[in-house]
Symmetry: C2
Subunit: 190 residues, 2 copies
DNA sequence: CGACACATGTAACACGTTACATGATTTG
DNA sequence: CAAATCATGTAACGTGTTACATGTGTCG
């Protein structure tokens, strides 16, 4: 329901047509989650179906602006006033993967953890690079970037915590001849 | 694709029928994301359609176990060997909400942040309580719980970071007569 | 003119979710 | 027996996603 509510909220600033909405959406959230233009039109159709927006007469250039209705405004207000709870978040694929890997025979959980850790660290570096380069951008886009960074850092901490728990509760399957990676048990990610 | 892959992975331990799969899934991931039993059957149908599982002859009790195929095993292996990247994660509703709130006139972003912060703190307390009570549970379930905690902590940190950035870049709209909440700028969540 | 960006729209599909119908088995 | 639990399955719907078809205006 992110796109639906996001587009609806953007319409509170005044009527917009599809292309404008995509531009505004991507300007706010940045290039993190590119928004397919087709998605905009399907979402607008559904919003119209639900009485939250209303199409305006076609302009000379062929553009079709949409206007938010009173019901739509109420819905946006409700959206902003309601906190996102844990239960309406989607299932976290990584968490599920690790949980099930633990109970699946023949899967080396440590390898899964290490693979993920490497990937997340790479992501973290990329994000940091982005942040340094895009210093003069919008506040909203910078905060989105920061959210990604905070999440990635938490993920690395959790992965290290998993490995530590694993070591504590399960003896290493075989004596490792080579140190698998260059980081300590409680890693430093600051 | 979490449920799909999760159920498929559970089948690598041997043939299971729907109810068993749900039980195994919830035993691994805990009560965090309850799994509707109907979902199990629809997912099994789709897995069969894609040639990743194969139904076994009905047992005397009426149960219909499914068996993983070679293609299914390969898919599970691929799943565990591939890290979850930022791009295949779903859009984060909270992040989008705040980003758009910033560019929407007539929305008090500070209130949005504060509402979310209160809710997340409450979630955090509930999670901590759960962790303390369920000390003797499965390792996997405990790690899932820890993941939730790490994420919630990161979220609080990010929200505080947002408020600080907001204060830095936007003057407070009006002189607050009453202190809105009892926490410092850089809050302590440890 | 041709290429490109702007702009709209639809059809088909994916996964996830819920509600509902149905039956077998156990247990008080 | 009645109720609860175990167990299967389907129908319908929601959002999100992509691919495709189509048209307009601009600019080299």
């Amino acid at each position: 329901m992110s796109i639906r509510h996001g587009l609806l909220a953007l319409l509170t600033a005044g009527p917009r047509y599809g292309y404008q909405l995509r531009a505004a959406f991507e300007e706010s959230t940045g290039a993190t989650w590119p928004l397919n233009i087709g998605q905009v039109y399907t979402t607008l159709s559904r919003l119209e179906r639900d009485g939250l927006v209303r199409p305006l007469p076609e302009e000379d250039g062929g553009q079709r602006p949409y206007e938010i209705t009173d019901a739509g405004r109420a819905e946006v207000e409700r959206w902003f006033a309601t906190a996102v709870t844990r239960t309406d978040r989607p299932r976290d694929e990584l968490v599920i993967k690790l949980a099930i890997a633990l109970t699946t025979p023949g899967v080396d959980v440590r390898t899964v953890v290490q693979t993920q850790r490497t990937a997340t660290m790479r992501t973290l570096q990329e994000l940091t690079r982005l942040k340094a380069g895009d210093a003069a951008s919008d506040l909203s886009w910078r905060l989105v970037l920061d959210a990604m960074i905070f999440q990635a850092e938490a993920e690395v901490r959790w992965l290290d915590h998993c490995e530590a728990s694993l070591t504590r509760h399960r003896p290493s399957p075989a004596a490792p001849e080579v140190a698998p990676a260059g980081h300590s048990e409680e890693a430093d990610v600051s």
